[in-house]
């Protein structure tokens, strides 16, 4: 076997690694101040005598120069949350780049009901600010841009996204929005999602969700004539995940009023307060919306997870338990029973080739947790994981929320003051019913985070840097590494397959039952690919000519 392959693939340490030592190794090269800071964000997953997990530094500023995975608030607001909504004209107010880069690059799939329905997702709208707009202010140009967008497209709503310079020169996008709303008679709203707000995309999620909650939710009170009405919060329909989830829910007879925000429309948001249960998929990007909806409209919420076949089954059962009707419970069991055999057949087969292999996941605000489930189902273990932009509660569970310190960066993200809506608040269950359901194990407002589910001794790293990534690859020699596009090729050039868990490398869906099958097969393909056998040319593995070649 060639030396490079030996070096890279086959020398996975036999002795268990000492994670504390690895942590020290990761920090050794940094300047002392940086090492101190990073040391709070890197920790060994270990419960103390009282069974308590350690606390991690998360949602804190990235060290300048460190080469981070993170993006900005604008990306979280415009790209992640509003990106998948098809019928709002989203105008980026700023110079051209921010709008250009967020144009269609997130793989949110959408399925308008007909060819006549609005779909602006393939379009990029920008005010393309110029020198003079920066000097003299861009409000005039923004107004004209809104007018021109209205004239050309007649959308039902227009929203405005502020990029960094806009905040700095003091353009009041909200005032412009109000003025143009008045003038044009359609809903127009702005977001102060300048990239410097907060410390990552997460701030932008919050700003976006606050905006949608304030300006859209609650505008349409029509109660849909359907059974078991839920909202699916924090599901973005990357690679068609949402379609697969919809298929399953539909088979169970559960009706989705709105999804925040995969395959979504303005009208769905407006009507979302009529649902009877909120289910939260990505806790990080949206748990506060669930809280606000409960406070204002009386909709209880539970955490669910449709990544992983077993988690999918479990989530369906949670929803059924909430509605507590035998017909639904039966139907859900039927669906699970119908779907599982195929899933199990594939996972058993794939397991033969993947069992015991090792994965690492550094991505997002929930995926680094959720996807461990899928790896587990094919016998792979996750030795190290972390989020790109999650908060402490996503690592340690919601119990820590009261202890989270509010720092200067979080303080400038607005928290809405929510009260019961005098007309629209409608408790879905009586307090007694809620208590009884909770007793029966319906986990209201509960999320335990990533760490309790991970093995003792695994390494948890928040906001991992490029440098740490490279060291981790050398030390652990994982069989697969999961992150995003910026990390992808450095990892693959190290001879290790890399799976993108933002864009799925154009694959998917990976949610639900069919998605699980897709994922098992994909990982099988990747970790057992032939390509890694060819890293060296014959003359590299046998460089010396031992004797003169004898022609036959």
């Amino acid at each position: 076997m060639s030396t490079a392959i030996k070096e890279i693939k086959k020398t996975r340490p036999v002795k268990p690694l000492d994670p504390e030592k690895i942590k020290q190794e990761l920090l050794a090269k940094y300047p002392p101040k940086v090492a101190r800071k990073r040391s709070k964000q890197i920790l060994v997953n270990k419960k103390d005598e009282d069974g308590k997990i350690p606390s991690i530094g998360a949602n804190v500023r990235t060290v300048p120069g460190i080469i981070t995975q993170r993006g900005c608030s604008y990306a979280g607001c415009k790209g992640v949350i509003l990106g998948p909504t098809r019928d709002i004209v989203n105008i980026t107010h700023g110079p051209i780049g921010c709008g250009f880069y967020s144009w269609l690059t997130r793989r949110n799939q959408t399925r308008p009901a007909s060819d006549q329905d609005d779909n602006f997702m393939t379009y990029c709208f920008s005010t393309d600010m110029q020198d003079e707009d920066i000097v003299f202010g861009g409000e005039k140009k923004l107004k004209s841009a809104i007018q021109e967008a209205y004239d050309a497209f007649k959308p039902k709503a227009i929203s405005i996204f502020s990029t960094c310079p806009v905040g700095l020169i003091g353009d009041d996008v909200h005032a412009v929005a109000r003025e143009m709303k008045e003038k044009l008679g359609i809903n127009i709203f702005g977001f102060s999602c300048e990239g410097y707000r907060g410390v990552s995309q997460s701030a932008g999620h919050h700003i976006a969700n606050n905006g949608i909650f304030t300006h859209v939710v609650g505008k349409d009170d029509t109660i849909k004539d359907a059974d078991y009405k839920i909202n699916l919060l924090g599901e973005y329909n990357i690679g068609g995940d949402g379609f697969e989830i919809d298929r399953i829910l539909d088979a169970c007879g559960i009706s989705v009023v709105s999804t925040f925000s995969g395959n979504s429309t303005y009208d769905q948001f407006a009507n979302s307060h009529t649902a009877d249960l909120n289910t939260v998929m990505c806790h990080r990007s949206i748990n506060y919306v669930a809280d606000m909806m409960e406070l204002k409209y009386g909709i209880p919420w539970i955490k669910i997870n449709f990544i992983g076949a077993k988690s999918t089954a479990k989530s369906l059962r949670k929803i059924a338990a909430y509605f507590d009707e035998p017909a639904l419970i039966k139907k859900v069991e039927m669906v699970i029973e119908r779907e599982m055999p195929e899933v199990e057949a594939v996972s058993e087969d794939v397991k033969k080739r993947c069992e015991g292999k090792v994965a690492m996941l550094f991505v997002g605000g929930s995926r680094a947790h959720h996807y461990q489930e899928l790896f587990r189902e094919i016998g792979m273990k996750t030795v190290s994981a972390g989020y790109e932009f999650a908060h402490r509660d996503d690592y340690e569970g919601r119990a820590v929320i009261p202890d989270i310190k509010i720092d200067a960066d979080s303080r400038n993200i607005e928290e809405l003051d929510i009260e019961k809506d005098p007309e629209k608040y409608r408790p879905r269950k009586t307090p007694e019913e809620m208590a009884s359901l909770a007793n029966k194990g319906v986990p209201f407002k509960k999320y335990d985070g990533m760490m309790p589910e991970m093995a003792e001794g695994s390494l948890i790293i928040d906001d991992v840097s490029q440098y740490e990534t490279e060291l981790l690859l050398k030390i652990y020699k994982p069989d697969i590494y999961c992150a995003g596009i910026k990390e992808k090729y450095a990892i693959q050039k190290s001879g290790i397959p890399m799976k993108q868990l933002h864009s799925y490398d154009s694959g998917g869906p990976y949610a639900g039952f069919k998605g699980a099958i897709n994922f098992y097969k994909e990982i099988d393909r990747m970790v057992n690919s032939n390509v890694w056998r060819f890293l060296e040319a014959p003359w590299q593995s046998h460089p010396e000519l031992s004797a003169k070649y004898v022609w036959e």
Partner: protein, 458 residues
Amino acid sequence: MLLRHTNTEIKPRKALTVNPAKTCQPIGAMYAALGIHNCLPHSHGSQGCCAYHRSTLTRHFREPVMAATSSFTEGSSVFGGQANLIQAIDNIFTTYAPDIIAVHTTCLSETIGDDVNQIANKAKKDGKIPKGKHVIHASTPSYVGSHVTGFSNMTKAMVTYFSECTGKPNGKFNIIPGFVEPSDMSEIKRMVKAMGIKPILFPDTSNVLNGPQTGRYKMFPQGGITEAELVSTGDSEGTIALGPLASADAARALDTKWRVPCQVQDLPIGLSATDRFIDALRIVAGVSVPDEITRERGQLLDVITDMHQYFYHKKVALAGDPDHLIPLVEFLVSIDMLPVHIVTGTPGKAFEKRIKELTDHLPCPVNVKVGGDMFLLHQWIKNDPVDLLIANTYGKYMARDDDIPFARFGFPILDRVGHSYFPTVGYMGGIRILEKILDVMMDRMDRDAPEESFELVM
């Protein structure tokens, strides 16, 4: 229909850009800086810009694109980013150990008015820049110009920061290749060397952004122009700048700084522009053109003759960058195609004039717009349909909606490979352009032909 809201009624727009045909300065600066050996690009601003630029370059090249950011927070945008940049410089040299950090600004740091030079000097005074290492910088506000401008500014910075003149000529020629693919950069080098001329080509992303899979990742790959070569550009015989928008400023800076004479040429795309490039090389270096190059020219000409029936009077719509579009339109005209709708998002008055000169004898009206966007291009196409669309990947939506044969060309290309390995410059690159055009147009003929006239031999 994916672009279902695009209609034929063209209303003038003054404020709203829809589906841009350009992007922002820093991505060009980052790309140029990656063409310096042992150099880490650094984005001085909020971290989102850097994430976006890295992502887009990564998707285009399918290669690692490393760059750091100053990660501005609200505080830095009020008080300026000096502390962030100095800390970044310290961290980068300590952790990643490049020889050079190439800083470009963003809209934010430009609007604040950070003085990167002064900050770098302070970093030096504070001992944060190890001996023999450098921090260079280019100012790249995105509310001016486009990605091409950013490339130009960073390329110029290479001259400003590094070029020296010892008075002893090095016998070489500086070649500034413009905002082209790594494959194009190697092809330009190959042609120049074939002429018996020693080039200093900068920036040079070949072997950086089309690197091999070896199983061993190196943050700083083999390629890239070295610092020593950049220093030596002041001793060169002359400079040939390819693509006026991307390369002329650096060439002129060398002329001003060290009196290195320069010539600004179009990018050598297609027959005539490559002719001019080769001829210019021949004249300035006083060499004769080797048979190898003349043969390649003949081969390109041969393909044109052989396939002329498929080109003749076919209408083409194009979106892209001025430096590419000018020689490309010239090429299409020279093979008797009809480029009828042409937009670039990159500003610059010269473009419309050049295009009009190139197309004014065509037997049909020609639409051209500087500062245009793909929405306008699509509207033009709907009013006056074309046989071929040439654009970056974003063109695929128009191509699908209106069933137009589509050849990908330019930046970014997010859905196909090949561009970073196979050049489109020079005579051989010309053949590749024709191959791409013919492939998509002839696939369409095959698809649409009635069974009785479905041709085996074409």
